[in-house]
């Protein structure tokens, strides 16, 4: 048999050879540094001198007893609302509205909606910082122009509003992505289902609940994982807009890692935070995958 031709049941090692270059790059530049970080988390190292002392789980104990860590983590969880729940909700709503009927110029809108995903987070942060500027930012100018000047305030400097303001930027970035994902997924749902439901007298809400959402299970799973990871690892947006301020109002774990490692020379401690964050993300991703797999074959 000529092994160079593909046929069902062919040995998978052959395919592995094609994967090897990519796998090697991943292992060297992503996986290896992750292992190094985990290794660093067990050391007492300020990031400069060659001497590193093994201190076991002392860094982890310090992390779990640090009130700033729990505060930062709570802010990450609040960001899940802005990065994940609201965009998925908006995405589902808009997809169910538009997915059934072909729109003129839809490709154009799809590109436009996906654009925030392509832009650098730093660029987005700088632009939104300007939008939120209390004196000449477009948001306050608009509020004053329509007579709502009592609502115009220093958004990014307000202790209560800074976190939702930064969260709103996250929503802006993610909702287009969710919507495009769900619209693509809706193409796969057979229209006969909707016709059958209409014949049975289903209203729009029932269609959404019994046909659209179950049919989009895979896409919702992808959206959940991607957006939750984005919410938990957010750093650049906070760094560019508020740097964790005012006070600690927008402090997130990613910023805590940066500050500890590079500004306060506590690299071991920062590595511990990073490792804990990675484990949390892994756990959540596994949970979501389990939820997906559980119903993957139950409806088809």
């Amino acid at each position: 048999m000529n092994r160079l031709h593909a046929y069902p049941g062919e040995s998978k090692v052959h395919g592995l050879v094609y994967l090897l270059p990519g796998l090697l790059i991943y292992l060297i530049f992503t996986f290896w540094p992750v292992l190094q970080t985990v290794h660093t988390s067990f050391l007492n190292w300020e990031g400069l001198a060659p001497q590193k002392n093994f201190i076991g789980f002392a860094n982890y104990v310090q992390v779990f007893t640090d009130s700033k860590f729990w505060l930062a983590l709570s802010h990450n969880l609040i960001f899940i609302i802005f990065y994940c729940l609201i965009p998925i909700f908006i995405g589902l709503f808009l997809a169910s509205l538009l997915g059934r009927y072909p729109l003129k110029g839809f490709t154009f809108f799809r590109t436009l909606l996906f654009l925030p995903q392509v832009l650098s987070m730093v660029v987005i942060g700088v632009a939104w910082r300007w939008i939120f500027n209390p004196t000449f930012g477009p948001l306050n100018l608009l509020l004053r122009a329509i007579g709502l000047s009592s609502l115009a305030r220093p958004w990014l400097g307000d202790f209560a509003l800074a976190l939702p303001a930064v969260g709103a930027v996250g929503t802006w970035v993610q909702y287009g992505f969710c919507m495009v994902l769900f619209l693509a997924g809706m193409q796969r749902i057979p229209t006969e289902y909707y016709e059958a439901a209409a014949l049975d007298g289903a209203n729009a809400w029932q269609e959404l609940r019994y046909i659209t959402i179950p049919g989009l299970r895979a896409e919702i799973g992808v959206a959940l994982i991607t957006t939750i990871i984005a919410a938990l690892r957010v750093f650049d947006l906070v760094f560019v807009t508020t740097r964790g301020g005012p006070g600690e109002a927008t402090l997130v774990t990613g910023f805590l890692v940066y500050r500890s490692a590079f500004l306060q020379n506590q690299t071991g401690y920062a590595a511990a935070i990073a490792t804990i964050l990675t484990l949390i993300i892994l756990a959540i991703s596994l949970l979501i995958r389990k939820y997906q797999a559980a119903d993957a074959w139950s409806k088809e």
């Binding site: 001198a49 220093p154 301020g245």
Partner: protein, 459 residues
């Protein structure tokens, strides 16, 4: 599938084994004179004759702004001309990037020979502790730097070899520029409204009220970036404390406390100014650069920041600006925050130490002073007599202010140098104070906790 899993597991196990090879903890180094490289055997630094064959000197600096970058390029070119065969390889970054990347680069064999290293514990102190900077004491006397730099200024670039005590020990850097924090004022607006420069702090407060009544923003200010709030608070603090106290606080000597009545009074005064609406409307959401832009455009009567802003306020505006020191209580001469700019330091592992030292001399030469003065940057060294400085210009004002406090030994400190976490703590707590979340008493108490923790760790 099984084979796939087998291959993946093998790769994983191999990676783990490789990690384990690095896990063996190295014993803490004893002799501080040992170079910092862990993988190479100790290499003595060999002094090379400065003009022996073609050489490249790698220099990292943070003079990224257009006007200052041009000065560096000029100085570098003139250095190359004066030292045939020497090439300067210049890398310029902004301060944030420089701080982070040079900590890694200074430990490398092909790292920069000369780099600007921020003063303070988290940067210079940490690098000294890791034995990555070359002590410059010999060069100080050999190349005559002690005649250019006073000992009080030199102490700011000094650390003991364990990197723990600032202000004494070896000198590790030379600063080309000097800085003083004071009050910029819009001369055009002042002239139009008949306002005069105050000579006492009480007059200053009255002036703020007068300006506000006239419908102009008294002090252009924004706390979104955080760090300039430290200057706002500390400028007032410097009028209330003694030079000994500030020295003790920043250099960690004599076990002083931050929780003092003077600091509380300074915090209260800052809060009063904020509550009376003397800062820009919505200052909590405005960044430092944006605040300066609006001030430059004429939308604020004054702004309290450092002399480094002067060069930006000279060109590109139809407004005229002046500078004065924040006047002391009852007219008494107060201290001003100030010091020397970010110094140039030499990497411990460099093989071109003598050439690097000559480069440092070049950076504090009279020619350098002249070039900095010409773009209205304050040099730390004396400006040559033939440099054209326009009497009554903004730059002349800042130079006069610096000379006044320098000669009277009233140059204060950037208090965020006090501990590695002081910067972050001060920024967060000042934002809380101004945001009404904490009181002045709570403010000083929280900051003192940071300071006390640090002092305890130093013992």
């Amino acid at each position: 599938m099984k084979k796939f899993a087998l291959v993946i597991s093998t790769i994983l196990v191999l990676s783990m084994l490789l990690t384990a090879c690095q896990t063996a903890p190295t014993a803490p180094t004893q002799a501080p004179a040992e170079p910092a490289k862990a993988t190479e055997p100790a290499k003595p630094v060999e002094p090379t004759a400065a003009a022996a064959g073609p050489q490249t000197l790698i220099v990292w600096d943070q003079f990224y702004r257009d006007v200052e970058s041009k000065v560096m390029d000029t100085l570098n070119k003139e250095f190359e001309t004066a030292h045939p065969g020497v090439q300067i390889e210049r890398v310029v970054k902004n301060l944030d990037d420089l701080k982070v990347t040079e900590k890694l680069a200074l430990a490398e064999a092909n790292g920069p020979d000369v780099a600007q290293v921020n003063q303070g514990r988290s940067d210079m102190g940490a690098l000294v502790q890791a034995n990555l900077l070359l002590p410059l004491n010999d060069y100080y006397t050999k190349l005559g730097w002690d005649k250019i730099v006073t000992s009080s200024i030199g102490s700011r670039n000094s650390f003991t070899t364990d990197g723990k005590t600032m202000g004494s020990g070896n000198i590790y850097g030379v600063s080309p520029t000097a800085e003083v924090v004071g009050v910029y004022y819009n001369k055009t607006l002042f002239k139009k409204n008949g306002w005069t420069v105050p000579t006492t702090f009480e007059d200053f407060m009255t002036l703020l009220a007068t300006i506000k009544t006239a419908g102009v923003t008294p002090i252009s200010f924004g706390t979104l970036d955080g760090w300039n709030a430290i200057h706002e608070f500390s400028a007032i603090q410097h009028l209330l404390v003694t030079p000994e106290y500030i020295n003790n606080l920043v250099f960690g000597m004599n076990n002083v406390s931050f929780d003092t009545p003077e600091n509380q009074q300074a915090a209260q005064l800052l809060l009063d100014i904020a509550k009376a609406g003397y800062f820009t409307d919505g200052y909590a959401g405005i960044g430092y650069d944006d605040s300066n832009k609006t001030f430059k455009a004429g939308q604020g009567a004054m702004t309290i920041t450092g002399s480094w802003l002067a060069s930006e306020l000279i060109a590109g505006t139809d407004q005229e600006f002046g500078f004065f020191l924040l006047p002391g209580m009852g007219g008494k001469a107060g201290m001003a925050i100030g010091g020397v700019g970010i110094p140039f330091a030499i990497r411990q592992g460099t093989t071109k130490a003598d050439l690097a030292a000559e480069y440092l001399s070049w950076m504090i030469s009279p020619r350098a002073a002249q070039l900095w003065a010409e773009i209205s940057y304050m040099p730390a060294m004396e400006v040559p007599a033939d440099t054209k400085i326009v009497e009554g210009s903004l730059f002349a004002d800042t130079l006069k202010a610096w000379n006044t406090v320098n000669k009277a030994s009233l140059v204060g400190h950037y208090i965020d140098w006090a501990t590695p976490t002081f910067y972050d703590t001060l920024v967060a707590e000042l934002q809380k104070l101004l945001g009404g979340v904490t009181t002045p008493v709570e403010f000083t108490a929280t900051v003192q906790k940071d300071y006390a923790d640090f002092l305890a760790k130093q013992k």
